[in-house]
């Protein structure tokens, strides 16, 4: 019969807690870099010339159809073999997750751009705005508000995906759980607590995002 003993887990709780914070940080960074990639690719897909449009579409379709783990392995193990050994494990993972996020965010932003009414753009042009001004003062702000809920969901997914970083020994939450399990052999307890931490963090983020969404809603 399995004997529960929670002590070792709570003695090493800082490993889990630091891992949780690192995971949140990585997800946030990946979201930021991914948003830059996503914005560029989304405008490439909607406003770009034909080759640019195809390039952006190829990036999105490729990345959305292959596993994150494969991208991580390519960046962490593959690039150094090709002579590009620039990143340690943490930055390899951040780069991989950002590339991965970028593909999803492209679609998020594209949907947002396409949701901006044609009439709005024509009106802005009619009052004498240049194309650049239209993008800056009309398309972008409206797009951002339409995209906000999907942006929040992407952030939560990215945070859950940070668990895969344990595969290349980035000390985030899942890696902390693995280490505690290996050192103390409290399997059930440690994964129960780790799962609870993930669950709690996801709910907290979701609740926070709902408040932000309500504040920024176009129609309150």
């Amino acid at each position: 019969m399995y004997q529960f003993n929670w002590r070792p887990v709570f003695d090493n709780f800082d490993l889990l807690l630091k891992g949780l914070c690192l995971g949140l940080g990585i997800a946030l960074l990946a979201l930021a870099i991914g948003s830059v990639i996503g914005l560029a690719a989304a405008f490439g897909r909607t406003h770009g010339a034909r080759p640019l449009r195809l390039l952006a579409a190829a990036y999105v379709e490729l990345v959305r159809n292959i596993p994150l783990l494969l991208i991580i392995y390519f960046v962490y193990f593959g690039l150094p073999l090709l002579g590009v050994g620039l990143f340690d494990n943490l930055w390899s993972f951040v780069l991989s997750l950002a590339l991965y996020a970028g593909a999803y965010l492209t679609e998020v932003f594209r949907a947002g751009i396409e949701a901006v009414g044609k009439g709005q753009i024509e009106a802005a042009r009619a009052i004498g705005m240049t194309r650049r001004q239209v993008v800056r003062h009309v398309t972008l702000p409206l797009m951002f508000r339409v995209a906000l809920p999907a942006l929040g969901n992407t952030f939560i997914s990215l945070f859950k995906d940070t668990s895969v970083a344990s595969a290349i020994a980035v000390p985030e939450l899942t890696y902390g759980a693995i280490r505690i399990n290996v050192n103390t052999w409290r399997v059930i307890e440690v994964y129960f607590v780790a799962g609870l931490l993930y669950l709690g963090a996801c709910y907290a983020i979701a609740a926070l995002l709902r408040r932000v969404e309500r504040r920024l809603a176009i129609i309150p």
Partner: protein, 214 residues
């Protein structure tokens, strides 16, 4: 280069087969769980409804990798022997089932209430109404989301390589480790994953069109 590929082909194909098998099994388990979970969320009595709600929210809020580790390392500690591949299928199936539950719930809820009322008014029992009126219409709305989830599961199946199952990802890792031909073999792996998922999308789109007419 050709020779490298030919020599590695059997290992790659075996890995691909494992990836497809794990994904298919997880998808089957997930779909069954999803139908059960979705119907419990919709029509279940209070305790059943809450049980389904807890299952769906927990399985969606925890990363798949944590589910895989928890089952692979946790079950033996409780005296249940599971192989790595079974643990992977169970974990991915549970995760998939939670998403499917929400998809089924959403699909059925999107059918107008009047449809049920009309079906009940002409004397169909609850079960007959579900079978002949609600499900055929809901299926059409469920299918696109089902295909998306299937693609996610194929991608997530790569995580079973972290509990030592030799799937496509693991096979490629082993080959790259031995041959150091990183660009070539990562490209092959990406191509194969893409091919599997693209096929899924195409089949899904074709089925959608058929249901739309029928």
């Amino acid at each position: 280069m050709m020779e490298l590929i030919l020599v590695s082909a059997p290992l790659i194909l075996r890995g691909l087969l494992v990836t497809v098998m794990v994904s298919a099994a997880a998808l089957l388990l997930g779909t069954l769980l999803g139908i059960g979970g979705g119907l419990s969320l919709l029509y279940g009595a209070k305790p059943l409804h809450w049980l389904a709600r807890i299952y769906v929210d927990v399985a969606r809020g925890v990363p798949q990798l944590v589910l895989i580790f928890a089952i692979f390392y946790g079950f033996p500690a409780l005296g249940l022997q599971v192989s790595a591949i079974v643990a992977g299928i169970l974990a991915l199936g549970l995760f998939c089932g939670a998403h499917m539950s929400e998809i089924v719930r959403g699909g059925v809820e999107s059918i107008a209430r009047g449809q049920t009322d009309a079906a009940r008014a002409i004397g169909l029992t609850f079960a007959l109404c579900l079978r002949h009126v609600i499900f055929p219409q809901a299926l059409r709305r469920i299918l696109p989301a089902w295909v998306n989830t299937a693609v996610e599961i194929v991608k997530s199946s790569s995580l079973v390589s972290l509990v030592s199952v030799v799937d496509l990802t693991m096979a490629i890792q082993q080959i790259v480790g031995r041959t150091r031909a990183a660009l070539l073999f990562y490209a092959v792996a990406a191509g194969l994953y893409f091919a599997v998922n693209f096929t899924l999308s195409i089949v899904g789109r074709r089925m959608e069109r058929r249901f739309a007419h029928g």
